[in-house]
């Protein structure tokens, strides 16, 4: 490893280490959750390792290539579906140093290990199982290791290509649609007739001669052939060339971005056709609330990150739950509560930007709330109103989309669903106001594709969402217990009152907290990019 790579990794390690003592119990809980998550895959790997020796080679010849194809799909597609690309180098910070492109490329490839470590664990389990198999030569199992560089390089190529596509204004939104389709595909395959139709295709792709996973399976099962080896050499050279090409393009894009950031930016924002909509807050409210709200809407609507997330919330949730609600093996609960379920899921998607960390986009500029004569409570209220506007818009989109999919939606169910979503949003906003001041973290609004998600943020998101959904869950429980829509609505009305009280208390607590700890708050929002990841 060159001295420069060691220096990069050392600087990153020091950055993380310097930050750790301030994380407290959040880090411990995050570590605990990660341990549980990876323990599941480790357990799966151990089971695979123990099971494989008892499986006949003839069965393995069918199953292994399909499993390898599934590993590849998970490795390459899962990060895209979750919009999480793992750790990566902040090339813009490293371009000024005399580091060879090869060195940067090497580190970037190794960092792809963070994209889907689950699959590495599973692959190792398979490798151990094959090595212990009595019918397979011990050394053959190690051919499976070739799958690591193959997937790492492919993952790098996919990531760099996607990132460049996401930087293109018009393509960004189109890519959301592609990602949505990718994410929904497994669900559609399992729950609709599409799966039955495509099953033979998947089998033929998985077991088709000449496919890298098939040839690797043959090698790993001790059926060495020069043809399989040649295919693998060609495959590796191909993905290497692809990754190098995409990486070089990304470097060029970053260099161009550096030049533009020096004041030569060539693009501006067009005067929006929806300017009247952006000015709407000024007609409805007085300053400073109106000015703050208008600013929020302008910034959100111009942020690629928000547009992508909003698109996901509107389309993804409606599509992903459609087969579960109306597919072959549909659930009655899902069919009866299609809109509430998809809107709740939409809230979960929007939560990162609109609920849990509402000052993330402001970053250092959040200082203005403390130097201008504006009450912090007003700032929070403006952010919450902007969030509510986006949530209402989302519920309208999902309802329309549901209609377009011919889901059985009645006007009553649509209105009830919007009402329920707003009540849930009220609880989430209350909780989010607190998390936004306790765990603030800067987010780049221009980055449509996030790197590693903050562990603490994930933890908060999960715990808060579950806790805040309980009151709304009680309404469903009342409907089930009493078999009455009126019971459902009555509990929802009680939830509304409770939500308003919780919102008031939580917002006051958030204001008090930020008044006391404004320095830590601003400090957390001022943190810049590190050398690796974010």
């Amino acid at each position: 490893m060159s001295g420069q790579i060691r220096a990069i990794l050392w600087a990153q390690f020091r950055t993380i280490r310097n930050y750790l003592p301030r994380s407290g119990w959040g880090t411990i809980l995050t570590a605990l959750l990660s341990t549980i998550w990876y323990s599941i895959f480790t357990a799966a790997a151990v089971s695979i390792a123990l099971e494989i020796p008892g499986v006949p080679v003839s069965t393995l010849r069918v199953v292994l290539p399909l499993a390898l194809l599934a590993v590849l799909l998970f490795w390459q597609i899962f990060p895209v579906m979750t919009l999480s690309s793992g750790w990566s180098l902040e090339l813009s910070k490293l371009l000024v140093y005399p580091i060879r492109e090869n060195a940067l490329f090497g580190v970037e490839v190794l960092l792809r290990l963070t994209t889907a470590p689950e699959m590495i664990i599973v692959l190792l389990g398979a490798l151990v199982g094959l090595a212990m198999h009595p019918g397979i030569p011990f050394s053959s199992a190690f051919w499976l290791l070739l799958y690591l560089p193959f997937n790492l390089l492919l993952s790098l190529a996919v990531r760099e290509w996607l990132l460049r596509m996401f930087r293109r204004k018009r393509l960004r939104e189109l890519f959301v649609a592609v990602i949505v389709i990718l994410a929904v595909l497994p669900n559609l395959l399992v729950n609709t007739s599409l799966g039955t139709k495509l099953k033979p295709v998947f089998f033929s792709i998985g077991t088709g001669q000449g496919a890298p996973w098939h040839e690797l399976s043959e090698l790993a099962l001790g059926r060495f052939s020069f043809q399989a080896l040649a295919i693998w050499i060609v495959s590796l050279v191909f993905v290497y060339a692809l990754a190098r090409r995409q990486f070089a393009k990304m470097l060029d894009t970053d260099r161009a971005a550096e030049f533009e950031s020096a004041g030569r930016g060539k693009h501006g924002t067009r005067r929006s056709r929806f300017e009247w909509l952006l000015n709407l807050p000024s007609r409805l409210f007085d300053d400073p609330l109106a000015a703050l709200l208008e600013k929020e809407i302008r910034i959100l609507s111009r942020s690629p990150r928000f547009r992508v997330i909003f698109g996901m919330a509107c389309i993804f949730s409606a599509l992903v739950f459609f087969p579960l609600a109306f597919g072959r093996n549909h659930s009655r609960f899902m069919a009866g509560n299609y809109l509430p379920v998809i809107n709740t899921y939409g809230l979960l998607i929007l939560g990162e930007l609109l609920l849990w960390n509402v000052f993330g986009f402001d970053r250092k500029a959040a200082q203005i709330y403390f130097v201008a004569p504006v009450r912090f409570e007003t700032v929070l209220r403006a952010k919450n109103l902007a969030a509510l506007a986006a949530i209402v818009l989302m519920t309208l989109f999902t309802t329309l989309f549901g209609y377009a999919l011919h889901a059985p939606i009645t006007p009553t169910s649509a209105i009830t669903s919007i009402f329920l979503t707003l009540i849930l949003a009220l609880f989430l906003l209350a909780c989010g106001n607190l998390t936004s001041v306790i765990l603030p973290r800067a987010i780049d609004p221009s980055q449509a594709f996030r790197n590693q998600k903050s562990g603490k943020a994930t933890l908060w998101l999960m715990l808060c969402f579950i806790a805040m959904a309980i009151p709304v869950g009680l309404a469903f429980l009342a409907r089930w217990a009493f078999g009455s829509e009126w019971a459902f609505l009555l509990v929802l009305c009680c939830d509304l009152v409770l939500g308003l009280i919780v919102y008031k208390i939580a917002t006051e607590a958030a204001v008090a907290r930020v008044e006391r700890g404004r320095e830590q708050f601003l400090d957390a929002l001022s943190k810049g990019k590190e050398l690796v990841g974010q």
């Binding site: 004041g263 501006g268 400073p288 109106a290 600013k295 403390f370």
Partner: protein, 277 residues
Amino acid sequence: MERPSVDRQLGAEAVAAPAGSAPAIEISDLRKDYNGFLAVDGLNLTVPQGCFFGFLGPNGAGKTTTIRMLTGLAIPTSGTIRILGLPIAEQGFEIRRRIGIVPDDSLLFDHLTGFEYLQFVGRMYELTRSIAKERSQELIDLFELGSEPRKLVGEYSKGMRKRLAMGAALIHRPQLFLMDEPFEGVDAVGARLMKDILLEQVRRGATVFLTSHVLEVVERLCDRLAIINRGKIVLQGTLPELRAQAEEGARSLEDIFVHVVGAERSTPETLSWLGSP
């Protein structure tokens, strides 16, 4: 393109310092402790109204921490601050209405245009929408930020960002300007314009409190100065007073500064390898 006059822009309703009024800034025994590190250690300072005040010090001396406490971004560990006669602890909100700030770091929102940002700030400072709009346009013209009106602040150069921040500090005609390195990254023309505006504001009774590492600029602009080192004021007064207090032979502000903060050293001796062929 003809620039709108600074007079017209900001002078119409001049900020006059009432005779016998309280000092613009009055700091007593101010301390700021960051986990045992005293960034500001018993600071005492008085800045009269209508004064162009330079606040100098080496890196890490406590300048930015002091400005952050004056603007309310940081809370003092102990001591008192009165701004324009008002105690910051009790009347911070009222004080915010009367001060304009150009911080060392950004207060700017990257995804607004310069014009939108100025309008937003104007409305934050309780200007009516029409006045905020009118002044924003005039400030954009004055600071020559209007050539690409659709450009987002995030695409601005450092100098443009500083000019925009200056415009935002001016928009509500504050009585006191608190500025941390306001000329950093600004070209000569832009810096001259900013200096002219600030001098004019001082002539009309406003107070300017600024930090800068460009000692020639401070020497030329400021009528009073203070030098801070390791969290304490080590010298303050007018330039002639500082000369009198400094050692004999210290004529320029740079001489005085170097003498007071004890930063004289010989680089070739410290880093011998730098001098080797």
